[in-house]
């Protein structure tokens, strides 16, 4: 990354900023496509996946992906994609993943093609995959390179919970595991239905979700995190700050005084003890004990475990809601 060479230079600051805005902008733009509840960006498979004949689906970037037969050699370029592949029973077809694949356990032992932000094209090609599962944003440029090398690329880039289910269905088609994919979708759908039933008649407490603390960043509108907070019966404060993952003014956070404060914790950020931060003792969420930490892979990784994340969010936003079962 040439962007960090001389940080003392104004140009470097500008380039860094441009990089950040570009990445965040890409997230935001990806969200502009469609946010209707009928399913993120990817649209369900148009063709039948009969044993013979090409399989055609539309991916998260709106491109059409066609395979003559179900994929047998899959390379995943994002931990979320790896999780989907394993969840739908295509784990045995995975030939390589990223250095950050940590779920399920088997994924850790896959050969690596580099990491999420710096996948190595030669390395990807060396596995001779018939399907590459990419992510949106930083990986957009990669697509044409991989396609020139004759690989089929499916971009997983959902901005809604339903969009993730669509991606799961599509990957089921592409890998010939439609049944297991359907089971995963059913589980996700059931979690969604249950949660919505639980919170239907409840108030919608103002909820702040901290993505990072210095600078304070939150999940804005047109993200699946926002979608899930709304589903879990909360009002996402971050949505007032625009789409994507915007920075958020601490003063405005205090002014809005959220009822529930949830901090994302994982590899990227460790929020520490939020209640001990200077001044935070006056916040309603802190006074009422509604401060929570959630594992980021459950809400920030567009895979099947979002169902689990959704249930956790309900427990945080509406601890009083009795689980239906």
């Amino acid at each position: 990354m040439s962007t960090t060479r001389p940080p003392r230079r104004p140009a470097a600051v500008l380039i860094l900023t441009a990089l950040i805005f570009a990445v965040l902008g890409a997230f935001a733009l990806a969200g502009c496509g469609s946010t209707s509840s009928s399913g993120g960006e990817a649209s369900p498979a148009a063709s039948t996946s009969s044993a013979s004949g090409p399989i055609t689906v539309t991916d998260g970037s709106g491109a059409t992906v066609t395979l003559d037969q179900p994929a047998t050699r899959i390379v995943s370029l994002a931990p979320a994609n790896t999780e989907i592949a394993y969840a739908i029973g295509a784990g045995d077809k995975m030939v390589a993943g990223t250095s950050y694949d940590d779920y399920p356990e088997e994924a850790k032992s896959l050969p690596k093609i580099g990491d999420f932000a710096n996948p190595n094209v030669e390395k990807i090609a060396s596995f001779n995959p018939d399907l590459v599962l990419a992510a949106g944003g930083i990986q957009d440029k990669l697509r044409s390179k991989l396609e020139k090398l004759g690989m089929q690329v499916y971009v997983v880039d959902p901005t809604t919970y339903d969009g993730v289910m669509t991606d799961v269905t599509n990957l089921g088609q592409l890998t010939g595991s439609t049944e297991q994919a359907q089971q995963v979708v059913d589980t996700m759908q059931k979690a969604k239905d249950d949660v919505q039933a639980q919170v239907a008649s409840l108030s919608r407490p103002a909820t702040f979700l901290e993505i990072y603390s210095k600078p304070l960043m939150t999940a804005g509108g047109e993200t699946f995190i926002d979608d899930m907070i709304t589903m879990a019966g909360g009002t996402n404060l971050g949505a007032t700050a625009g789409s994507g993952f915007p920075t958020f003014s601490t003063e405005v956070l205090f002014k809005n005084d959220p009822d529930v404060y949830i901090a994302d914790s994982g590899s990227m950020s460790k929020p520490g003890d939020i209640t001990k931060r200077a001044g935070f003792d006056v916040l309603t969420a802190v006074k009422d004990g509604h401060v929570y930490v959630i594992e980021d892979s459950l809400i920030a990784r567009p895979g099947p475990r979002l169902a689990q994340g959704l249930q956790e969010l309900v427990r945080m936003i509406h601890p009083e809601a009795a689980p239906t079962q």
Binding site: M1, T4, R5, P6, P7, R8, R9, P10, V13, L14, L16, T17, L19, I20, Y100, D115, F116, A117, N118, Y212, S213, K214, P215, L216, T240, A241, G242, P246, T247, F248, S249, T250, E251, V252, F254, K255, D257, G266, S267, M268, S269, K270, G272, R277, A278, G279, D281, V282, L283
Partner: protein
């Protein structure tokens, strides 16, 4: 001539002090939480109140943040004056000594090891900054004296080296990439009283160079001439370099790397009050604090509730100003 300089120092400092007070008041009066001026005055007079939310916005969020911004601005401006005049190079800023890159490396290690909460982050940044200063220092020491040009080159080289290591760490631990990138960009978001305390440690180092104002004036004519005039050149250089290094390391450890203030403020002040250090140093200190205070105000308010990285604001304000100054300087 000295007599004239002596008498004309105070009006400039008083004026800069006035500008600083005005900037401080404006920075405290306005913010994205839009407290009214009456409310702000009320909070100032009543002091911090436990459990009152608007009061906490002022005393726990806005005030410490404004103070940190002003302190960092002052630190960078003073370090900028020292280094520009020591290196006799107008393009020098506090970051050329490699101290900031070393501090950035220390902070990056903190982020990668998930020790990014205070005070570890600051401690590691300070260690990184001082270690770099030590290396650069040893590289530049020849037979008991510091070769300024070797120091400059060694500083730039170490700076690149430290940045390269930061890049490697970013790629290796790329789940921390955003944290590192945001830290490198610099920000005052979420800074509180513990950060003010750290920034305050630098105050004696901002004042110390004032006692070397005469030596610094003479050093502008070159080391040889200064020696002839009886200046203890090596001792002065040592004190000033360490001072600038400490100022930079502390500033960077609190705020990350914020460009342009340390470069541009000394130039503006030279145009306003001339190169004499008895006024150049204090006026730079005050205007550096003012500029950073205002830059952070803009960063907090312009696109609220979002924030613009403060380094972007200082660059947008500083870049056109600097180009203008360069052109003006060429004409004159």
């Amino acid at each position: 001539m000295t007599r004239l300089a002596r008498t004309s120092v105070w009006p400039g400092i008083a004026l800069a002090g006035g500008v600083f007070v005005a900037c401080l008041l404006v920075s405290l009066a306005f913010g994205p939480a839009s407290l009214s001026l009456g409310e702000v005055w009320h909070f100032v007079t009543t002091g911090p109140v436990q459990g009152d939310l608007p009061n906490a916005i002022f005393w726990q969020i806005r005030l410490p943040r404004v103070l940190v911004a002003c302190l960092v601005g002052a630190e960078l401006a003073v370090a900028g004056v020292i280094l520009q005049d020591l290196f006799l190079n107008p393009l020098t800023d506090p970051y050329v000594t490699g101290v900031s890159s070393g501090a950035a490396l220390g902070a990056t290690i903190g982020i990668v090891l998930h020790m990014s909460n205070l005070p570890w982050m600051t401690v590691l940044a300070l260690i990184g900054g001082f270690a770099t200063l030590g290396i650069v220092w040893m590289a530049a020491r020849r037979r008991g004296r510091i070769d300024i040009f070797v120091l400059l080159l060694a500083g730039v080289t170490i700076s690149y080296l430290a940045s390269a290591v930061v890049t490697v760490l970013m790629i290796r631990a790329n789940q921390d990439m955003y944290a590192i990138v945001y830290w490198l960009m610099g920000s005052f978001s979420g800074r509180g009283w513990p950060d003010v305390e750290i920034a305050l440690v630098a105050v004696p180092f901002m004042i110390a160079p004032l006692f070397f104002a005469r030596e610094m004036d003479i050093l502008l004519q070159g080391e040889k001439r200064a020696l002839e005039l009886g200046v203890e050149v090596e001792r002065t250089k040592r004190v000033l370099l360490v001072t600038a290094g400490v100022l930079t390391a502390i500033a960077v450890s609190v705020s990350g790397i914020i460009g342009f203030v340390g470069l541009v403020v000394p130039h503006i002040v030279r145009l306003l009050v001339g190169p004499g250090h008895r006024s150049l140093l204090p006026v730079s200190l005050l205007l550096g604090a003012s500029m950073m205070g205002i830059a952070d105000l803009l960063s907090r308010t312009v696109i609220a509730p979002n924030e613009i990285p403060v380094g972007v604001v200082t660059t947008f304000v500083g870049a056109p100003l600097f180009v203008y100054l360069l052109r003006r300087g060429r004409k004159g």
